[in-house]
């Protein structure tokens, strides 16, 4: 028997097969990265005691959104674009913060009070008792709701960045990114979080400004 020479396998259709696979994956998969506003809901209703009544009116930043997507902030009708500045002013509590000594914040009677707290890096410090309360109507559009949420988060973020820049010479975002690398930085992040804690309370739903 003569030895048969093995002929080379034709690889011409390899490209076609690969294209087929490629198209299959293009169709069945998605590439979108998920992004969003991360929030924490309050625990189930039955656990809420009468705490809410104890919080004094001056400590609450009241935001109402009605069915026509109009904003009422602290009794004043404003646009979304003005909300961030107003919220920042309120959360900061006193324009001179952190160099204030008056716990009752007497010179600004419409702004929140302070409370002395232990803050990691700085030690004893006055921290504002601010709470942002957001109430929306059943007819408010989701788009508007997200806009308001976005402005509030932005307000907190900007304040944190300002304080961080002033105290540590670095923005809060940067600190947060490096937090994993050293404990000292982590402490700083904690300190800033403690001074400006994100307190956005979403009250039980109510009907404001009559939708059907």
């Amino acid at each position: 028997m003569a030895k048969r020479e093995i002929s080379e396998i034709n690889a011409g259709s390899m490209a076609d097969i690969a294209f087929l696979l490629l198209i299959f994956f293009l169709v069945t998969t998605t590439m979108d990265t998920d992004t969003g506003l991360i929030r924490r809901l309050p625990p189930p209703p039955e656990e809420i005691t009468e705490d809410n009544d104890k919080i004094r009116q001056r400590n609450i930043f009241e935001i109402l959104v009605n069915a026509n997507d109009q904003l009422l902030v602290e009794g004043e009708y404003i646009q979304v674009s003005e909300l961030r500045a107003k919220a920042k002013e309120f959360i900061k509590t006193n324009p001179a913060y952190p160099s204030v000594a008056d716990v009752t914040n007497a010179s600004y009677p419409n702004m929140p009070e302070f409370k002395e707290e232990d803050v990691p890096v700085f030690g004893k410090m006055l921290v504002s008792k601010q709470i942002v309360s957001l109430q929306n109507d059943n007819g408010t559009s989701y788009e508007m709701y997200i806009k308001v949420q976005n402005e509030l988060i932005a307000a907190y973020k900007e304040l944190r960045n300002e304080l961080s820049n002033q105290k540590f010479g670095k923005s809060y975002d940067e600190l947060e990114k490096q937090a994993g690398s050293s404990e000292a930085i982590e402490e700083k992040v904690k300190a800033i979080k403690k001074i400006y804690p994100q307190r956005i309370s979403e009250a039980e739903p109510k009907k404001i400004g009559g939708a059907e």
Binding site: L26, L37, Y142
Partner: protein
Amino acid sequence: MSKFRKNGKKGQPAISTAALPDIVFMLLFFFMVTTVMRETSLKVINVTPKATEVDKLERKSLVSYIYIGKPIKALQSAFGTAPRIQLNDAFKTKEDIFQFVEMEKEERDEVERNMITWSLKVDQETKMGIVTDVKQELRKANALKINYSTKKTDKILD
């Protein structure tokens, strides 16, 4: 000038396509690595609003999705145009959310059950009524870590 005259019959050699499969495979692997499989087919219109202060969702295996919006065009004759809640692959009512939460928790490891993020993918034209209902249900089911799914933009237009 015959030196430069081309001999018409010779022609150019055909371009070798031997490397084509390699190129295509490269593309294939790129897409396999960077994308994820579609898990549910959307039955609701879902255009999420835009926001500037967004965070990335880190661990996809610890995210469960709740879709809210109008039924898509093809289903509107059967289901109407009122906003609906979609869990997994079917329309559900808000009473089903509690069970959905329990099922999703059951699927994960015990240690990770409290780390699940509930991503609310809500169409931007939806009214808050249904969203509030869903949020109240999530609270009852002790699913507190939520995420309002939004697209990232640089500037919000009024």
